[in-house]
Amino acid sequence: MNSQDFDFVSQLLRKRAGIVLGADKMYLLESRLAPLARKEGLPSIDDLIQVVRSRRDERLITQLVDVMTTNETFFFRDKTPFEHLKEAVLPVLAQARKGQRIRIWCAACSTGQEPYSIAMMIDQQPALTGGVPVEIVATDISERCLERGRQGLFTQFEVQRGLPIQMLMHHFTQQDDHWRVSERIRSMVTFRKMNLMDPSYTLGKFDVIFCRNVLIYFDGPTKTEVMNRLAQSMNPGAFLMLGAAETVIGLTQAFEGAQDRRGLYKLSSKAVKAA
């Protein structure tokens, strides 16, 4: 691949998904695009890029963006966010909402381990939400990931990363080489395709947003833009959970850190007034 093609693809990715591809990512690009070219019946990556450049084929562009996303995830990833949810978020919301439903949004859910972890936790400890109904919306830009999430089918490897065996026994059934999360848990999560770069999305207001391990792929101004938009999708008193390597510091005033809870933020009162 020549450097012009590389620039073309990285600009496309940035424009479409906010994803910044470092100049050292040539190898990554090639290893991800080669299978797509093959799938499309094209002899090489160069041909693939040629087709994208000349035809501006939306379907192909969408797929190109999809294969370039990094979808690494696992059940109860990093553990502490789920402890924060259990100890500092759900009890507060259950009190405050008094019977109205609690809405949780996983804003870059990949193949579904994150929303399903939340669903299993809530299902096993109904006291956490004091009987208040919970709705979990899970979105991602990758249709390929969303489809896997909807099916709720996981490999043996995936169900052994972060998932306690008791939860596997409780919530999964075996299906050939795979494990399927129960209908009960699946029904708690709605998967929808959504691009965080899209300024016009409307999913309603949420009480909790998990936006973890996706901002790391964006540049500073994009992070700010995305977080400010998240703030607009939040009810007063709502919480934001970021990934272990992510922060709001220096990027937005819309959130303030929750005391002694790394990665957990509250919608700031300033942001509430502004909205």
């Binding site: 052994q160 065996i165 026994m169």
Partner: protein, 121 residues
């Protein structure tokens, strides 16, 4: 340093597992079947046991039941590590006193994740 007893009739599996648990800062010991493992535990109770199911002389589940009846035998954290990967085997292992369950093939990430689950690291 915590001690981990690796019980598996395959020398290759024991070697691979040893490398992984040593990286997790355990001192590793090995046994090739349940009987050897039981004998070992009677001398020195390990902190945790990585346990295969199918082995000659004494299999993993019989070993586990015997272990849990030994004085101090309730102490070690037992993590099954076996090719038996169906729900009925998992349930039987847990009923018999296992703390976690790994379905082979395993890698360092899975062992670390499961050890984490039971508070070993």
């Amino acid at each position: 340093m915590k001690r981990c007893l690796i019980v598996d009739d395959s020398r290759v599996v024991r070697k691979v597992a040893r490398r992984i648990v040593e990286d997790l800062r355990f001192e590793a010991d090995e046994a090739a079947d349940g009987a050897q493992a039981l004998e070992f535990c009677r001398k020195t109770m390990p902190d945790c046991i990585l346990l295969d199911w199918n082995m000659p002389v004494m299999n993993g589940i019989d070993f586990l039941r015997a272990l849990r009846r030994e004085p101090g035998g309730e102490r070690p954290t037992v993590v099954f590590c076996t090719t038996e990967n169906d729900m009925s085997h998992i349930a039987e292992a847990m009923r018999s006193g296992a703390n976690e369950y790994i379905m082979k093939p395993f890698d360092s990430e899975i062992i670390e994740s499961k050890f984490n689950e039971v508070g070993l690291c």
